[in-house]
C-alpha cells in the first residue's frame, strides 16, 4: 500500500484530529467519537441534553387513570436544552461553534450556541462559611506546596479565597500550573481539595459541603458579630440576666453598655473587657484570631474579662458569656469578692443560647467558577464578536454554563461567574496548556442572532440535534430557570 487512498464519493474526511479518517455514512472514525451521519461529520460522545419535564414532571402526580402506562412525562412531551457539556470545542476559533441549535420557546424562535470553552483566564472564588482564622488577607494558598491563589477580603461570616487565574495557571512553573489546574478542576467538579494557607490553617473543602479547618468540621455560621447578636437578642435577655458578653473575633458585644441594653434600661455592671473599645458596648481585638470561642483563640472566656468595678458591680450579678455561634457558652455569678463563679446555665437562658445556635445557618463551601469568555471563542458564535458582548450586556442573549445561569460582570468583555453546584456533575475538563474546559451556552432570539452576524448557515433544528446518538439526557435542576426563556430583552 502506498498510503494513497481513493475515497468513495460518499465518504467524508474528518478534520477533528490529524488521523483525518475517511468515514463512510453511518460509520465512525478510528476514534469512535466522530462519525458520518447522513453525510455530516458529527460528534458521537455523550452530549448532555437537559430535559425540563424530568425535573418538573417528576413531582407531578399521575392523572391519566392508569398510572402504570404513564411514565411521568407531560403530555406535550419533554422540552430539551442542548448544553455544551460534551459538545466539543473548535480550535482555531473561527470555525462555527460545534452546535448552533434552533428551537421555539413561547412562540419565539430561539437559537442556542453551544461550545466547550478553553479558558486560561479563569479561576474560582471560594466562600468558606467560618469565622475561624484561616490566614491573613493576601496570604498564599497552596496545593501540594504550590501557590494556587490567595486569601482575599473576608465577608460577613465567611472567609474568602481567590484561586487560579492566568498567572497561577500559565505564569509560573509547570508544576505550579498543573497544581493550579488540578485544584480548579477538582473544586469545579465538586471534589474535595486539601489546601494550606501560609502562616494559617489547613483547609479541606468541596463545593456545597461544610469546610474542615485544621481538621475541625465547621458546622454553623455565626448569627452575626457580637454586637449584632446583642441587638437581636437583647429583649429576650431582659430581666433574666444582668450582663451578657457575646464573644466574637471581629466585634465582641457587651449588653449593659450596648445601645440595645441602654434602650431596655439594663443597669451598668462595671465589667472591664480586654481589647479596644470601638463604640458603646462594642470591642475590637478582645483576643487573637483562632479556632475557638467566636473565631478567637480563647478557650477560657474569663481570660477576656479584666475585672469588675467594685463601685458598680454587686455580689450575685448574673453573667452570660456566649460565642456568636452559640457553640460555646458559660454562665457565672459574682461572689462576695466580685469574682465570677461558674454555675449551671439556667433554663431561661438556655433557650436564648439555643436560639443563637438555631439562627446560625449550616456552614458551606461555595465555589463560583469565574472566567473571561470575551475572547476568541466569540468567533464561533458570530463574525463580529463585539456584537455578542453587547447583546449579552443588553440582556438579549442569556449566558448559561451547562444550563446553570451565569452572572455577567458589568463593564467590558464577557466576564462571568457561575455556581458550580448548579451545573451537572463533572461538567469541567482541562487541556494540558494548562487551561480549564468549561461548557458555555449563549441563547438568544433567532432574529437577534441574524442581526449580530451569527453563523446562520450552521443552525440545526433542536429535533435534529436531540435525535443524535450518544447523548445523555438529564433532568434540569429545579432551582435553575429554564435557559430558553428570553433574558428580558425584546427579540
Amino acid at each position: 500500500m502506498t498510503g494513497e487512498i481513493l475515497a468513495p464519493e460518499d465518504a467524508i474526511r474528518c478534520d477533528a484530529c490529524p488521523v483525518a479518517c475517511f468515514i463512510k455514512p453511518g460509520r465512525a472514525g478510528a476514534c469512535d467519537r466522530y462519525g458520518n451521519k447522513d453525510g455530516k461529520l458529527v460528534r458521537l460522545d455523550p452530549h448532555v441534553i437537559l430535559e425540563r419535564s424530568l425535573a418538573q414532571g417528576a413531582e407531578a402526580v399521575a392523572f391519566l387513570g392508569n398510572a402504570k402506562d404513564w411514565d411521568g412525562t407531560l403530555v406535550r412531551g419533554p422540552e430539551h436544552f442542548v448544553t455544551a457539556i460534551g459538545a466539543g470545542t473548535t480550535y482555531p476559533d473561527y470555525k462555527p461553534a460545534p452546535f448552533i441549535v434552533s428551537s421555539k420557546f413561547d412562540g419565539v424562535d430561539m437559537v442556542t450556541v453551544v461550545t466547550e470553552g478553553i479558558f486560561s483566564y479563569c479561576g474560582v472564588k471560594v466562600k468558606i462559611d467560618t469565622d475561624r482564622y484561616i490566614g491573613a488577607e493576601r496570604s498564599l494558598v497552596r496545593a501540594d506546596g504550590e501557590a494556587v491563589g490567595h486569601v482575599t477580603t473576608s465577608e460577613y461570616g465567611s472567609q474568602m479565597l481567590s484561586l487560579g487565574g492566568v498567572h497561577h495557571l500559565t505564569g509560573g512553573s509547570r508544576k505550579q500550573g498543573t497544581a493550579t489546574c488540578e485544584t480548579l478542576l477538582s473544586l469545579c467538579n465538586g471534589k474535595e481539595v486539601g489546601l494550606t494557607v501560609d502562616d494559617g490553617a489547613s483547609l479541606l473543602i468541596a463545593a456545597g459541603k461544610p469546610p474542615a479547618i485544621d481538621g475541625n468540621l465547621e458546622e454553623r455560621m455565626r448569627v452575626g458579630c457580637g454586637s449584632a447578636t446583642i441587638g437581636i437578642f437583647a429583649r429576650q435577655w431582659a430581666g433574666k440576666v444582668d450582663e451578657v458578653v457575646v464573644v466574637d473575633d471581629h466585634i465582641t458585644g457587651v449588653l449593659s453598655e450596648h445601645q440595645a441594653g441602654k434602650v431596655l434600661d439594663t443597669a451598668p455592671t462595671g465589667i472591664k473587657i480586654a481589647g479596644r473599645r470601638s463604640t458603646a458596648g462594642r470591642y475590637f481585638q478582645v483576643a487573637e484570631p483562632g479556632t475557638s470561642w467566636g473565631g478567637t483563640n480563647i478557650t477560657d472566656p474569663l481570660s477576656i474579662i479584666k475585672g469588675f468595678n467594685a463601685k458598680v458591680a454587686w455580689p450575685g450579678l448574673r453573667l452570660l458569656m456566649v460565642s456568636t455561634t452559640g457553640e460555646q457558652f458559660a454562665y457565672f455569678e459574682l461572689d462576695e469578692a466580685l469574682h465570677p463563679v461558674e454555675k449551671e446555665l439556667p433554663q431561661s437562658l438556655r433557650e436564648s443560647v439555643d436560639r443563637i445556635r438555631e439562627n446560625c445557618e449550616p456552614a458551606m463551601t461555595s465555589v463560583l467558577f469565574m472566567c473571561g469568555a470575551g475572547g476568541s471563542l466569540r468567533a464561533g458564535v458570530t463574525e463580529n464578536p463585539v456584537r455578542l458582548t453587547r447583546s449579552i450586556k443588553e440582556k438579549i442573549t442569556r449566558v448559561t454554563c451547562g444550563g446553570a445561569p451565569a452572572y455577567i460582570w458589568p463593564g467590558g468583555g464577557i466576564t462571568l461567574m457561575v455556581d458550580v453546584t448548579r451545573m451537572p456533575a463533572n461538567s469541567f475538563g482541562y487541556v494540558p496548556t494548562p487551561a480549564i474546559v468549561a461548557p458555555i451556552e449563549f441563547t438568544l432570539p433567532v432574529e437577534a442572532y441574524r442581526a449580530m452576524g451569527g453563523h446562520m448557515d450552521c443552525i440545526r433544528p433542536l429535533a435534529d440535534v436531540i435525535a443524535d446518538e450518544n447523548q445523555q439526557k438529564i433532568a434540569m435542576r429545579a432551582e435553575n430557570p429554564w435557559p430558553l426563556t428570553t433574558a428580558g430583552g425584546k427579540p
Binding site: 500500500m1 502506498t2 498510503g3 494513497e4 487512498i5 481513493l6 475515497a7 468513495p8 465518504a11 477533528a16 484530529c17 490529524p18 488521523v19 483525518a20 479518517c21 475517511f22 468515514i23 463512510k24 460509520r27 472514525g29 478510528a30 476514534c31 469512535d32 480550535y91 482555531p92 478553553i118 501540594d144 509547570r174 508544576k175 498543573t178 488540578e182 478542576l185 477538582s186 471534589k191 475538563g429 482541562y430 487541556v431 494540558p432 496548556t433 474546559v437
Partner: protein
C-alpha cells in the same frame, strides 16, 4: 491544532489518569508516593500530547504491509510498532498498525518509569496494557468475554495475577468484536508477552488465525468498504458470526492455538487465552501460575468443554 490543544487529560475520581487524543484512549494507574505519581502523570501527559501528531506524520508507512526488511520509520513509537510485527511478516499479511495500541502504551509506560520511582504502573490502551512491577508487586488482571451492559465482578470470565517474578510486562486482547477489524472469528484472544507491542501484534495474528473460511455463519466484508483508509484494504474482515457447532468451534480454536503454540516456541509470547462462543482455550508454559479462566465460564453449559492446550 496540535495535540497540546486537542488532547483531553483528566484525573479520574479514583486517582487514575485518563488521556484521550483522537483515537488514542489511555487509562493510566500508578501505585507509589503521591509526589512520584504526580511526576509520572505529568511526564505521561506531556509525552502523550505529542504522540498522535508524531504517528500521523508517518501514517502511510505504518499502514503499509510489513516486510522482513521494512523501511524503518523515524519516530520511536513507529519503530517499536515496525519491530513488533516483523517476526510475523514472512507468514502473514500484517502492518505495523497491528501493534499501535501496545506500542503507545509502552511509550507512556517508559516515560513514567524514567521520571518517577513507582512500585506499580499500568497503562491501558483500550485493553492493550503495558505494566511495570517493582520487586514483590503484582497486578490482578480480569478477563471479560463479550461486552456486558452492566459491569461487576460477575462479568469476569477469568482472572489471573502477573507478579514481578513473571516475565510478562505486556497484555493485549484482539477479536472481531473489538475496536479494530479482525480477519478471524475469535471473540477475544488475550496474550501475555514481554512487551505490550509484542502482545498486541501476537494477539492480532492469533485472532486472525481463528477462522473457518467459507462457513455460512460468518459475515465478512472488505475492510475498505467500512473504512476507506483501513490498512487492511480489500481483505475481508469479520462483521458477524452466527451460532457455530461444537466441532466448528473446536476446529477454529485449534487453528488459533496452533499459531499460539508456535509463537510460544519462538519465545515471542508467554501465554494466551482464546475465546470463541463460550469456549475458552488456554495455552501456557508448564509450572506457571494458574489461569482460572474456566472457573467462571461465559456459558456454564460449555464449561466442561474448556480445553487446555
Amino acid at each position: 491544532m496540535t495535540g497540546k490543544e486537542r488532547a483531553q487529560i483528566c484525573l479520574l475520581r479514583d486517582g487514575r489518569l485518563h488521556l484521550n487524543d483522537g483515537p488514542i484512549d489511555l487509562i493510566v494507574d500508578a501505585t507509589g508516593e503521591a509526589g512520584e505519581i504526580g511526576a509520572a502523570y505529568a511526564a505521561a501527559a506531556s509525552r502523550f500530547v505529542e504522540i498522535l501528531d508524531e504517528l500521523c506524520s508517518e501514517l502511510p508507512l505504518l499502514r503499509a504491509k510489513a516486510g522482513t526488511g521494512s523501511t524503518m520509520p523515524a519516530g520511536p513509537i513507529a519503530r517499536r510498532m515496525t519491530k513488533a510485527v516483523q517476526p510475523f511478516a514472512r507468514e502473514v499479511f500484517i502492518t505495523p498498525m497491528a501493534a499501535v495500541a501496545g506500542s503507545v502504551a509502552e511509550e507512556i509506560l517508559s516515560v513514567m518509569t524514567y521520571s518517577a520511582k513507582l512500585s506499580r504502573i499500568s497503562v491501558n490502551n483500550g485493553g492493550d496494557i503495558a505494566i511495570h512491577l517493582s520487586h514483590g508487586q503484582r497486578y490482578r488482571i480480569g478477563i471479560v468475554s463479550g461486552l456486558p451492559d452492566y459491569f461487576d465482578s460477575d462479568s469476569l470470565s477469568g482472572s489471573f495475577d502477573i507478579t514481578s517474578e513473571d516475565p510478562s510486562r505486556g497484555i493485549a486482547t484482539s477479536g472481531w468484536k473489538g475496536r479494530s477489524f479482525s480477519l478471524g472469528i475469535a471473540d477475544a484472544i488475550t496474550v501475555l508477552a514481554r512487551t505490550a507491542a509484542m502482545a498486541d501484534a501476537a494477539a492480532t495474528v492469533i485472532a486472525n488465525a481463528v477462522d473457518l473460511p467459507g462457513n455460512p455463519a460468518i459475515v465478512s466484508v472488505p475492510a475498505c468498504d467500512l473504512a476507506p483508509d483501513s490498512d487492511l484494504g480489500h481483505l475481508l474482515v469479520t462483521r458477524h458470526v452466527g451460532a457455530l457447532s461444537r466441532d466448528e468451534i473446536s476446529l477454529a480454536l485449534s487453528k488459533g492455538s496452533a499459531v499460539a503454540r508456535d509463537l510460544h516456541t519462538r519465545k515471542l509470547i508467554d501465554s494466551a487465552a482464546l475465546s470463541l462462543q463460550g469456549v475458552i482455550c488456554t495455552l501456557q508454559p508448564e509450572n506457571s501460575r494458574d489461569w482460572d479462566a474456566s472457573s467462571t465460564p461465559v456459558n456454564p453449559r460449555q464449561d466442561r468443554e474448556a480445553c487446555h492446550a
